[in-house]
């Protein structure tokens, strides 16, 4: 049963991860990334780590990705934009690194099986992943790393504040309207109506011809 669940969620995670890279539309990539996070959280639950799973959903899927989607919507990145070709050397590098990673995993699997010793892993009923044991360990055995991480986060917050106070961080396409709202380019210029240049015409008949509609000048014939 748990093997079936693992195959299901692992397949979902890998499929979504491939979609993150393969999608051209940045918003679709972001949605796929949310799928990866949710699938990983499900795997954590089957590994008896519900706290990590919940935190994964709250922090990554719930907070960070909302911000990413917010930014994509706000800046309205054009998805027809052709891919830049100057980073082409990254493709073989990525394939090589992936091969190294797979080789390492295979080596670990092989060496564990060859050594013959069955490693005793905590089963699905273990209490290692429960909130209480995590909390106790964070504030006793791992207090220093915990505090150092807190200071790192504090520095990030202060850095973000000091950057934001300098101003002029909005993109040139964003416009500010009264009520302290930032308008995306989507609102100023909707999709599907690219040609918005004004045209001057002399008569109604000429305008009708430009628009491609029929114009009946005689009111009596109009129905």
């Amino acid at each position: 049963m748990s093997a079936l669940l693992f195959i299901l969620f692992a397949g979902l995670a890998i499929g979504c991860a491939v979609a993150v890279v393969a999608q051209r539309n940045p918003l679709y990539s972001a949605i796929s990334l949310i799928g990866v996070f949710v699938a990983l959280a499900s795997i954590y639950v089957t590994l008896a780590a519900p706290f990590i799973a919940a935190v994964q959903i709250i922090v990554y899927a719930g907070a960070i990705m909302v911000l990413v989607i917010f930014v994509i919507k706000l800046l309205n990145v054009e998805h027809e934009e052709p891919r830049r070709q100057r980073l082409r050397f990254l493709v073989p590098t990525a394939i090589g690194l992936a091969a190294v990673l797979i080789a390492e995993t295979a080596f670990i699997l092989y060496s564990v099986q060859a050594s013959g010793s069955r490693v005793r892993l905590p089963g699905p009923t273990s209490d290692v992943g429960l909130t209480q044991s995590i909390g106790v360990n964070l504030f006793t055995a791992y207090l220093l790393p915990f505090e150092v991480t807190s200071i790192l986060l504090l520095m990030a917050i202060v850095g973000a504040m000091s950057l934001a106070r300098q101003g002029n961080l909005l993109s040139p396409t964003a416009r500010v309207v009264p009520g302290a709202q930032v308008l995306a380019m989507d609102i100023v210029k909707p999709r599907g109506f690219e040609d918005m240049t004004p045209v001057q015409t002399e008569s109604t008949a000429e305008a009708a011809e430009l628009l491609g509609v029929e114009f009946q000048s005689d009111p009596a014939k109009r129905e």
């Binding site: 918003l27 679709y28 949605i31 949310i34 949710v38 519900p50 706290f51 799973a53 919940a54 935190v55 959903i57 709250i58 899927a61 719930g62 907070a63 909302v66 911000l67 989607i69 917010f70 919507k73 706000l74 429960l130 909130t131 209480q132 009520g179 302290a180 709202q181 995306a184 989507d186 609102i187 909707p190 999709r191 599907g192």
Partner: protein
């Protein structure tokens, strides 16, 4: 057949989920009707009272009417995301109900079956609720983006900003209760509030946390006075302007189910969940009548919160967007943090 049989257990869980789902849907329909009737009463009108006795079948008539409408997809919309958004909204809304205990542990007479009236009980139930709620933002944000409509996009942007801001205050306002209870398991939190005729309810020890939670929850469900994402005077219908028929219905239902689930959370964390004062003394713990009274008490508390929502809608005007942001970040957040510090200090000093 053994009680621990996994197949029997999963079958029972599916039955429990079905019952809870139908109950929530019926409460949802009742709330829609109650909203219209109570609002009408506040505004000196009658409201819908023609379909069925006193208009009791009105929600079902509305349901059939909405289902019969044409299902439109805008021409320039992002089709896949447009279809995905209402599904995310409704699924995340419904997913949250599985952790709430509807009543105490029940023992069926003659059969000697003992089971708790909760679908799933696990260690991080409270975090699960917060996580599911935070994923619910995507439904609205993506709906606003994919419609290719200025009003929808503005509604979606407002909603994303508002829900990120108020989620923090919501989560922080609950930490006081967690500090007092020492657990994230909602079932245990309710159990700890039983006894002493209601004086163990967390609202007595966490009045500030309760008020903060109530305000943040109203903002989180996009209700008046925080309904900026669908402010009809400025944004037509906000993020669901382009949605019709069943998809509109899904958004509409998701909003009401969200109202119900935040009411359930307020009830379970602050008002003692299914605990009814004096019920245990008068009826004795473990009897069926006691369980029935407790379940009814739980629903009565939920309906109190739902009535409060409708009452607020009939009373208060809407915030302006900058007021909303200022209120969330400059008032609710610091007060919630203050609440945590004071509670933690008191818990430490009293060693509770």
């Amino acid at each position: 057949m053994s009680w621990d049989n996994p197949y029997l257990h999963s079958g029972l869980v599916i039955v429990a989920i079905t019952i809870a789902f139908l109950t929530i849907m019926l409460i949802c329909a009742a709330t829609v009707l109650a909203e219209r009737r109570v609002l009408a009463f506040i505004q000196g009108r009658l409201g819908p009272n023609r379909v069925g006795y006193g208009g009791i079948l009105q929600p079902f008539a509305d349901f059939i009417k909405t289902m019969m409408k044409e299902d439109l997809v805008p021409d320039q919309s992002t089709r896949f995301v447009f279809l995905l958004a209402p599904m995310i909204a409704i699924v995340t809304a419904i997913m949250a109900i599985i952790v709430y205990p509807f009543g105490p542990t029940v023992t069926l007479p003659y059969l000697n079956w003992t089971f708790p009236l909760v679908i799933a009980r696990f260690d991080v139930a409270l975090l699960y609720v917060l996580g599911v709620t935070s994923v619910g933002v995507y439904g609205i944000a993506l709906a606003g983006w994919s419609s290719n409509n200025k009003y929808s996009l503005l509604g979606g942007l407002r909603s994303a900003a508002q829900m990120i801001s108020y989620e923090l205050a919501l989560g922080l306002s609950l930490i006081g209760v967690v500090l007092l209870s020492g657990t994230l398991d909602i079932y245990s939190i309710v159990e700890q509030q039983s006894g002493w005729y209601g004086s163990q309810w967390n609202i007595i020890y966490q009045p500030l946390g309760f008020v903060l939670y109530l305000i943040a929850a109203i903002a989180e469900t996009n209700r008046v006075p925080f309904d900026l994402p669908e402010a009809e005077t400025e944004l037509v219908a906000g993020f669901h302007t382009e949605y019709s028929s069943i998809k509109f219905l899904l958004f509409f239902n998701a909003e009401y189910i969200n109202m119900i689930t935040v009411s359930m959370l307020a009830t379970t964390l602050f008002l003692g969940g299914w605990n009814v004062p004096f019920a245990e003394t008068l009826l004795g713990r473990g009897t069926l009548l006691f369980a029935l009274v407790c379940v009814l008490g739980f629903f009565a508390k939920i309906f109190f919160f739902l009535f409060l929502y409708i009452w607020l809608r009939g009373t208060l005007p809407r915030f302006r967007f900058d007021q909303l942001m200022d209120f969330g970040w400059k008032f609710l957040m610091p007060v919630a943090i203050l609440n945590i510090v004071v509670t933690a200090t008191v818990v430490f000093l009293l060693g509770r």
